[in-house]
Amino acid sequence: MSTLIALTILAPLAAASLGVLLRNRVVWRDIVTVIGLFASAASSFIMLFTVADQGSYRLHVGGWSPELGIELVADRFATLVLPVALSIILVVEVFAIGQRRTAWGANPELTGPLLGVLTSGVSLAFLTGDLFTLFVAFELILVSSYVLLTHQGQREQVRSGMSYVVMNLLASTLFLFGLAFVYAAAGTVNMGLLAERIPELSDGVRLGLGAWFFVVFGTKAAVFPLFSWLPDSYPTAPTTITAVFAGLLTKVGIYAMIRFHTITEMDALGPIMLVLAGITMVIGAFGALAQSDVKRILSFHVISQIGYMLMGLGLFSTAGTTGAILFLVHHMPVKTVLFLVGGLIENHEGTSSLDRSGGLASRKPLIAALFAVPALSLAGLPPFSGFVAKFAVISAGIQADAVAIVAVALIAGALTLLSMTKIWLGVFWGSDADQSDILRSQAGIVSTSVANRRAMFGATGLAVAGTLTISLFAGALFDLSEKAAFELRGDTPAVIDGAEDASAINNGGQP
């Protein structure tokens, strides 16, 4: 088990350094990168099954005690989210290998190694058991993502990259201050120990810390007042990069929030979270409706969907946390697939603008099919995974008698469906005038070879199959999410709230 944890974090890092050393031998570099990412993803899957079987595992790095050293925790929550995240990166890397000869293809010399570093950071962020290592992981992710975002050096990318990096660095600085506050108040930054000590602090200090970290993680997750950097920067990056960012980065923020605020029992922040969740959902959905570019619409959806996860967390019930976790698991692959399809559209049409493309459904039915499945899933239609996830969150809301937020969530869902329809009308239906050749040559896309296209379609198809698998195993995933939620909430030795927790367990047992 300890080997698996180490492998998940170290394999992509080793692959990244080998990828740089081998950068002139293209084939070997790609093979090494894919092997590294695959090793990481494979070991995370083994971890999922081991932990589901035998329970959580805590690794004290170098044999140091938790007070002194770094602790890596493979609990149910981490091992449930990690395989999904790592498989996404693997799929995107395959897509990127196929896409490299197009104008939107990211520079493969950089993308492979940097994705390796990013993967390592994401694994570390999910597996870490202390706040300081979480900070380090955030920095690792931020640095590599900043380079990935701007490496093509186009004016637009550098401009929006600035707002991305400034907002995120601000959040990191606040994070660092927050670490100092936590250490001053509780004498540790280890999350297991914080779960015991923070609930014992006086209300003012406790809620102050909770609010502080809500701002930190909220910026990373693009929650309502702090989301401005996201729709600005994401669409400018190469498609493959945006796919990873949209699928993962904000989710790392919401993951940290779910973990921190649940184990430290910040229930009192629930109402504020719910209000912000509602606004986030609606703003994201309206923003998406106002856009006329596939990638921009999808970027606003990222924000809107963050609202649902925040809603699940803000309910502070086992059912709510279960819903948030399930939503997280469903959302990551679906969002990535949609952006990959956006890449296919761009690759084929020469543009991702709704006004300039059209009639793709008759010319390329395969792309239309690949788009339809995750789009309906994101909008929350049965039988797809989005339905199960939304249902879990909303039924948790109904259980908690939070009628207002449930109504807002349903309205936002309808708006999401509306903007998906907009993409469908603009890109797949509409005028059949095939302008793709002109637009492609304007954009400087060299025609892709069969092998490249096969890699791109293969990767997208695989990812769509993955999202379908999630809806197939929705029941099992719901169970896993519920167990993870129990573990997160039960982590705290609830002396005073013992009776309340017992009732929560009874409620959660009957979905």
Partner: protein, 151 residues
């Protein structure tokens, strides 16, 4: 710039280089139990690289390779204990008696620190590379123009 043309600066940097290397190596070894360590050593080495580059004595090359080598070394040291069934990042400490120096204590933290040093130096070098790129880019453009005129 004054730096490349001034003999004072050039000679000063050339004299300072070996001294700074010694300080860097000291920091690298001292880091195990005293203030210092791979990061500090890397900064000292990086400072030398910057000075020599600014004074046009020597231009850095292979920055990325150095970084990649550093990361690889760190990963290997971190993962090596797994082969013996120990925890990740566990360290082995060796102490031997060396003539002249007496008892010397070292361990797997040393290659780890060397890896960190390599990453920091590589980073400084690639920063220099990046900062210099605009200037060099225009030079290249100019030479391209010239070849076009010649053609």
């Amino acid at each position: 710039m004054i730096a490349p043309s001034s003999p004072m600066v050039r000679t000063g940097i050339q004299v300072a280089t070996p001294l700074a290397v010694v300080v860097g190596i000291y920091l690298l070894f001292a880091g195990h139990n005293n203030p210092g360590g791979g990061f500090a050593a890397g900064l000292v080495f990086g400072a030398i690289v910057v000075l020599r580059s600014v004074a046009d004595i020597q231009q850095p090359s292979r920055a990325r390779e150095l970084m990649a080598f550093g990361v690889l070394l760190v990963v290997i040291v971190a993962a090596a204990p797994l082969l013996w069934g120990d925890l990740v990042l566990d360290q082995a400490v060796v102490s031997t008696k060396v003539p002249l120096l007496g008892k010397v204590k070292s361990g797997s933290a040393l290659p780890f620190d060397i890896g960190v040093t390599a990453i920091v130096v590589g980073l400084v070098m690639s920063l220099l590379d990046g900062l210099g790129q605009t200037g060099r880019g225009t030079d290249l453009d100019a030479s391209d123009d010239r070849t076009e005129v010649a053609a």
